[in-house]
Amino acid sequence: MGELIHPFIVYGFCVLGGAALCLALPRGGRSPQVLGALAGALIAGLALLALAVKFAPVLPNVYFYIFSLIGVGAALRVITHPRPVYAALYFILTVISTGGLFVLLSAEFMAFALIIVYAGAILITYLFVIMLATQAPQEDQTEVLASYDTRAREPVAASVVGFLLLAVLTTLFFRGVDRLPMPPSRVDDQALLADMPRKVENSLRSAGLLREGEAIREIDTGAGVVRVAAGGAVRDIPRSDWPEGMGVSNVEALGFNLLREHPGSIEIAGVILLMAMLGAVVLSRKQVEMDEEAKRRQAQKLGQTTGGISDVTGPIGGES
């Protein structure tokens, strides 16, 4: 059996999803957005259901379905909501559900890091910028959405290309996952303990397995023993005796992996961040030199919003 699902089913879903998304995209208020959104959600649900039905014995955790539905739904909202603020908030929802999926994938540290960095830092920056860059509604009028927010650009073409991509991607990996090398049945997750004598010592000591005056001489994870010595006497503590919390946590493993195998990349990442900071500072400090045209337009715009200055400089530029 080559595929997880028959390709034509996948394509069918893709076509339907594309059509649904087309409907869902904002079109200046005239489009049946809600209908599209509902259809899209329905199709996503159906797709997942199809998968679930097909692989009943090895289904993923139920939380997977919850998080992925929330995530995909929120993502759809991100791109369909005309108000940037809402879009950003929906994005936070996506981030959170992705975090959930990370947890399911036993990447706890990444899950929280994601939420903290994205939802806590980046998205807040976005919100600041959105607020900076959006005209607050005047008191006497209802909020006017910018036309570029309310109308999607070439929704059909984008959906076609997008779902075409989805179709080929899914075809590929539904066909391909089968040929993946089977994962190692078991990894020695304790191997790193050899590099953490202090942790081992602390946990052994707090579990009372390490007597006074004894010190760890060797941690042999291969043989599954901790060799302790006091003076001349040496004894082994076998794995079966180890306390519950002595295992290697995800954070620890990640930390070792990062620093051992990618030290250079970390440096580079640091430089990138530093440069980004400097760049942002430099850019935001820059005084905008507006040319005459831009000044005129801005004056007109201000005149428009305040309803003040009548235009003396000519017809209003094409701000359609």
């Binding site: 791109i79 879009a87 992705t98």
Partner: protein
């Protein structure tokens, strides 16, 4: 069925990986479509962030499947780049907005040179 897992992670079925990849692909495509259809610079950036999410999810899923940490390491770097990108991009957006009082990406076509 609990959310939290303890001890060494168990091997994952290939079909489960397929599920995750499907979600990842969905996020990617949605982000892409958003990027193409929306004109608001900020939302376009949000869409790129969506695609980052998709990539991160796929990376972590693969890492989980192979029971190694490379995927997660990759996500750390993705995070880094995303943060840097966000800082720079948003600074630029502010700058651009100051010039034209608009977030419409189409107004900056002349930046092509």
């Amino acid at each position: 069925m609990t959310l939290a897992q303890t001890g060494a992670p168990a091997p994952m079925a290939p079909s489960t990986l397929g599920h995750y990849l499907l979600v990842s692909a969905l996020l990617l495509v949605i982000g892409l479509i958003g990027f193409v259809t929306r004109r608001n610079l900020i939302i376009m950036f949000l869409c790129t962030e969506l695609m980052f999410q998709a990539a991160g999810l796929a990376a972590v899923a693969f890492g989980r499947y192979h029971l190694n940490l490379t995927g997660q390491t990759l996500v750390i770097f993705i995070l880094t780049v995303a943060a840097a990108e966000a800082a720079m991009a948003l600074a630029l957006v502010v700058l651009l907005f100051r010039r034209k009082e608009s977030l419409n990406a189409e107004e900056w076509q002349d930046l092509k040179g």
